[in-house]
């Protein structure tokens, strides 16, 4: 490798290797915070040495070996951690006795398990959702604090604090570095899936800021989902989530207009949908269904997304099937948001009046009071029913509620269109 951009080349190594290294170190030192510090120290050493010496043939093994040596030095210096020192000593001794010439090969045997343990500890329920997201992106996604801060539009020190506190919480709660078993597994897995989907959604429909999408964050979430699907291949909901994300991501290039404005699903140019991601999504959904998981909440949402993906034109959409899937989803995970989506599907399958009827039962829902999509959808139904003055008011209300600048423009445009069309009220 050439030395033209040593630092970006080292960044690339870090991005690829860091999760494995932190996972392997955590198994040894039993403290995720400490493991990350050791890995960071090794990275600093690499940044100092590699521009001179060149990147070693096996950079991951180099970083791991360096981090382990730091660990030994630190434990020697630090008597308070004598107990851990012994553990580490035993671990290293055991590895030396195995006489494995390649550190990495020894690491590889367990790496799947270690990574999975790292996933579970990063998404542990003792942590707040925000902390889980930050820690997951940091430890598993290999993102820097600065990148996470930029992605979520919060100040960098806030993210740094979140990560420090999260690591301290895990340490104080003595959260074991393990893969949960038995009945625990389902609950813990759903916490992991929630974190990954949250990251995806923040990239897919940014809740704040100038850009409607942050594709890099979607890619981070997708990568985490794909990794998880390989780590726990028999969990249908993991494939359901991957399917959902792949199919949603397939529309990325069609859902943003030339000036950055959002384009809604039914107005998208479907030739711009990414057929590779659609195929991957449908394959993942198939895997979920074959594992008997067609009825999980992510698989159901993926099945809905698949109905759109399979329709070559909006008119070919199987709306009655989408309504049926939303019915099932509403029973499984009842929420005003699901009802809102069900109302949209109902309107498409059976006309705007049917949708409006369901929507009006949600009007008093406290959790939707400040949610811009409620007036936005209501405005759309009213518009289709020719009730333009009411539609305009709803679009304006929605515009005042959204925090996303691009979305606000779109909503104000729709309000404007209602105003322009009002001399002929009552017409379709």
């Amino acid at each position: 490798m050439t030395a033209t951009h040593p630092h970006s080349a080292i960044d690339a190594v870090w991005r690829i290797e860091s999760a494995r290294i932190i996972a392997g170190l955590t198994r040894i030192v039993r403290d995720v915070g400490l493991a990350e510090e050791l890995a960071q120290d090794a990275l600093v050493a690499a940044l100092q040495q590699w521009p001179e010496s060149g990147i070693p043939d096996n950079p991951g093994a180099w970083l791991m070996a360096t981090a382990k040596h730091r660990a030994i030095d630190m434990f020697r210096r630090n008597k308070r951690l004598e107990r851990k020192h012994e553990e580490l000593g035993r671990e290293l001794q055991a590895q030396q006795e195995m006489a494995v010439p390649d550190f990495n090969a020894a690491l590889d045997d367990d790496i799947g398990d270690d990574l999975l343990r790292l996933v579970f500890i990063s998404c542990h329920p003792v942590l707040s959702t925000e902390a889980r997201v930050a820690l997951t992106l940091r430890l598993l996604g290999g993102l820097t604090t600065e990148e996470i801060a930029r992605a979520f539009l919060v100040p960098e020190p806030t993210v740094a604090q979140r990560i420090v506190r999260a690591k301290r919480t895990l340490s104080e709660a003595r959260v074991p570095f393990e893969v949960p078993r038995g009945p625990d597994l389902a609950a813990r897995l759903s916490s992991v899936l929630e974190v990954i989907y949250l990251i995806f959604n923040e990239g897919y429909a940014a809740t704040a800021g100038e850009d409607w999408m942050r594709p890099a964050l979607c890619e981070d979430a997708l990568r985490l989902g794909r990794i998880l699907a390989e780590l726990v291949p028999n969990e249908p909901e993991v494939h359901g989530l991957v399917a959902l994300m792949e199919i949603q991501a397939s529309r990325s290039m069609a859902r943003v207009g030339p000036s950055g404005q959002p384009i809604l699903l039914l107005d998208q140019d479907r030739s711009r949908w990414d057929q590779l991601l659609i195929r991957r999504g449908l394959a993942a959904l198939d895997r979920a269904e074959k594992l008997g998981g067609a009825r999980g909440p992510y698989a159901l949402q993926a099945a809905i997304a698949a109905c759109h993906a399979r329709a070559r034109t909006p008119t070919e959409t199987d709306w009655p099937r989408i309504v049926a899937l939303y019915d099932e989803l509403a029973q499984l995970t009842p929420s005003p948001i699901v009802e809102l989506n069900r109302a949209v599907a109902l309107a498409m399958a059976f006309g705007p009046a049917a949708g409006l009827e369901l929507l009006d039962t949600l009007a008093s829902e406290p959790s939707l009071r400040a949610y811009h999509l409620l007036p936005s959808v209501r405005g759309d139904f009213l518009f289709k029913l020719g009730r333009l003055a009411e539609a305009q008011a709803e679009f304006e209300r929605a515009a005042s509620l959204t925090r996303n600048a691009r979305e606000r423009e779109l909503l104000l445009d729709r309000a404007q269109a209602c105003a322009g069309a009002q001399p002929q009220p009552g017409q379709r």
Binding site: A12, V13, R15, L222, R223, R226, I227, L231, L276
Partner: protein, 124 residues
């Protein structure tokens, strides 16, 4: 960012030896597990292909093999990665496997970034 990796070499080399195929399969498996490789494929000899060319307003069809070509595409893979450096690192590993398992072989992996959603949004 999505990258297309296109492997090219002289057609005289024929099919890769078994140990290289195994090593590539292992590398691909790792890339799938790392969530980075999203698609790939190998191409049959050009004897099974054809070229359809538009030139001077005329469309002509030429059946393979493409004997005059110095190097031809032998396979491709699509990756989702954070940077070109990651792509270079990945392709370097791929070529090192060839060096190890196919002595004398010469060829190249061309890395091309694909058009993606980040190219659709005008930068603020």
């Amino acid at each position: 960012m999505r990258f297309m990796m296109i492997v090219k070499s002289a057609e005289k080399w024929g099919f890769p030896p078994k140990p290289l195929m195994d090593a590539i399969a292992k590398l691909s498996d790792e890339a799938v597990k790392a969530g980075t490789m999203i698609g790939n494929g190998g191409l049959l000899p050009t004897a099974t292909g054809a070229r359809v060319r538009l030139s001077g307003g005329k469309v002509t069809v030429t059946d393979g093999p493409f004997t005059e070509a110095k190097e031809v595409v032998g396979g491709y893979a699509q990756f989702e990665l954070k940077s070109k450096e990651e792509a270079v690192k990945s392709a370097t590993r791929f070529m090192e496997l060839h060096r190890e398992h196919w002595p004398g072989w010469e060829g190249e992996t061309e890395i091309r970034q694909m058009f993606g959603p980040e190219d659709c949004t005008p930068k603020a």
